[in-house]
Structures are given as structure tokens and as C-alpha cells.
Symmetry: none
Subunit: 247 residues, 2 copies
Amino acid sequence: MSQPTDPNGAHNPVIVLVRPQLGENIGKAARAMLNFGLTEMRLVAPRDGWPNPSAGPAASGADIVLEQAQVFDSVADAVADCAHVHATTVRKRGVTKPVLTPEEAAREMATMAGRHAILFGPERSGLETDDVALARTIVTVPINPEFGSLNLAQAVILLSYEWSKSRDLAQPTSEELLPPAPQEELDSMIGQLEAMLEPCGYFRPESRAQATRRTLRTMLTKPAWNHLEIRTMRGVLSALARGPRDD
Amino acid sequence: MSQPTDPNGAHNPVIVLVRPQLGENIGKAARAMLNFGLTEMRLVAPRDGWPNPSAGPAASGADIVLEQAQVFDSVADAVADCAHVHATTVRKRGVTKPVLTPEEAAREMATMAGRHAILFGPERSGLETDDVALARTIVTVPINPEFGSLNLAQAVILLSYEWSKSRDLAQPTSEELLPPAPQEELDSMIGQLEAMLEPCGYFRPESRAQATRRTLRTMLTKPAWNHLEIRTMRGVLSALARGPRDD
């Protein structure tokens, strides 16, 4: 799969629409993206399937975005190859993650190596807590507290616009820093740890298990570990799983 | 006529829609404005008259903007009381005026005293040369040169968004993030982990032990975990140290 890159060689961010409802809004989001040079759209479980005949007319010519759109069953699958996952939300969240403005998020995208994905939730409800749990940062557009009525395509256009503004930024001298490992490597490491903790009763009682898993994931997503660090962590876990040696 | 002002005492900018065609787009523009705290809309010769029954539903609750909208016969009348007039356009113009980005225009609005007006042209054709002639500056949204397809409400939302950013008051709803735990808590956690790894032979051979400890410390310092997260990590380690439970 060839990836669009910007002149600096960095990957352009991936726009991930999570469980979008109306094809029309998918089309409008595509139009918003292409206005600012973004072309890579991913759809997670679109309600009315894909392709959707309502999307094309709403895209006003941004057909290339729709034609290249990829469909995934889960958010985890959609961001498996991404090093940075940002979740957009307008509401306050119990989750403690860094909250960025679109401008701050755009700066990260321009300066932090590795592919970035931006998650947008369904029109009515927005992202669910489990979606947000996959992200390292939350991006919130500061809006009128007495009238928050930003629709999907508007949220996409503001993020795309800020990204396009930041892409001309000089790259900082951070080439030696490895990007965070792809999300799938992080997932495997978390899976390994969970499998070790399970028999120890760490996730009991069952009623708390989901929240505990989320806490663990949030904590392990925060470091943005690169693949060497993930490998080290896996080595640590394997050593612990092996247990004391007699030699 | 009472004017909305921001807490700094400055007038909020006036959004002027010049010869708008569809009521629906007027409603969408109102919604875009109110999302970022702008309420003063002026309409110059709306094609289908005013009020327009299509505007309300498209405003998604931003009725106050539509109710207070004022109608004028000419652009000159609409901006008669304004100190600064900015004309938005996507196309290059023969007119020699300063061309500002939305961000630069927002900075002017935040810093230059007197009321500012921003002109937006009709959906199809944009502002005419005579309209632009009334403005001191031209505001152009830098978009994809191969796909310029910004509609009226999108142009309004980008300008409104940049304006709101330039005000100090629009604070994002950032949850307070806990500071990183004191170093001694981190040290204790690392000590606990090392004590578990030691009997597993993780630090052998001895010649590599120091470098391995350093790698581990670097990796665990990177997250800047707060004291709750350190506590969670210690709980994880204790569960692993305890091992599988039979119950």
C-alpha cells in the first residue's frame, strides 16, 4: 500500500471515522480533507456499509478520498500500523490523557515521527470510552460552552486545516528519536501482560475487569514507547513469566 | 443597537454574507459562528429575501444569530459602522491589498481597535471586485491548489475558529493531569521490578548488568507516570510476584 507523504517525507495523518452513520457525512468529511491535502480515510464499521451511494455527491469531487478509503471492523485494526493515535472529543472525559487543541495536535503531527491517526466518533454520540482508550492524546476543539454544535465534517475540516498550517514547520532535530512502535506491537505487549495477570486474579472481581484493563492500557499507552522499548518490556515480561532460574 | 463584546472590551467581528443564495447556507453559517461565540450576522441583499424558512433548521439551534441578523441593501451600508473590513476570497485578485491568512486576520481582530467586519461572497461566484474594493485586507484560506472546494459555512467556520483562538478566554476543557510521581516513588517501583528480575537471570551476564539497568530505567522514566499510575504498576508487579492463584 503506497502511503501519501508530505514533502518532508513524513506520513500525512490518517483520518479514521469510527462507526459513521450517514454516507453524506462521510462524503463531506472527504471533501473537508482534500481541501487541505489529506487523502487517507479509514472507516470503522460504517453503519450503512461501504461503498455508500450518498457519499459521492456530498464529496463534491473529492472522489479519490472515497475510492481509496479502507474499511475495518475495529478501531484497533484501523490504527494497527499507526504510531500515534489521537481521539477527538468535545466532552469532558474521565480518562486522564493529555488534552490537546487542534493546533497543538497539528504541531505534534508535524514534529513527531511515525504515522498519526485521528479518530472521529459517530455523528450522534461521539467516540466511546473504549475507543478513546486506544489513543494517547485527546484533541478537543475549544468551542462556545453554551453552544457546542460541531458536526463531523466541521471537526474534520478544523483538524485538517490546522494540520495543513503546521506542515510547513521546520522539522526539529529529533531524527535520532525513534517513533512510537506501531499500535499492533503495543497491543501484543499489553496482551502478553494481561495473559500473565489473568491467572494471578489481577482482573477480579469481574465487575471491575473492564475498567482495570482500561487503566492498564492508558498507563502503557502514555509512554509512546518505540519498538526497542516495547521489545525490552516484552523481554522483562518473558523473564518474569519464566520465573527464577536455578543455575 | 447593543453590540456583543468580549471580556476584553473589544467588539466581536461582524460576519457579513454578501448576496447569499440558499437559506440553508445562511443557517449553517449561523451555526458555525455560534460554535465559536460569534453572534452578529449581517446579510446583504439575500437572494430569496429575509427571513428565509430554510435557514432555521440548518442553524441547529443557533436561532439567536438568525433572529438578530440585520439586512442591508449594499455592502457599503452593511459595513458603514466598521473600522476594519476584510474580504474573504479563495481566488487570486488583481487588487493590490494585503493578503492575510485566517490566523493573521484573527490577530488583527484581536489587536487592532475598532469593529471588524468579514465579508463572504455568494456561494457560486464569491465576492465581486467592487465588494473587495471596500475592504482593507483580503483574507485567503490556503487550500489544496488542486482541490479548492470550500463552501460558505466552511469558510465562516474557519474564520470564526481562528478568531476564537486569538482570544485568551477560550480555554480548552483540559482535565488536570496529575504531575509525575516524585522520583523516590519511581525509584521504589524500579527497585521492586529489579528485585523480581534478578533471580530470573535478567541481568546476566554481569558485564551487561549496568547497561541493562540503565535501559530499564530510561524506559520507565519516559512515561512520566503520576503516583496513581506508579501505584497501578506496583500492583501489577505484586500480582505477578504472587503468581497464579488456585481459588
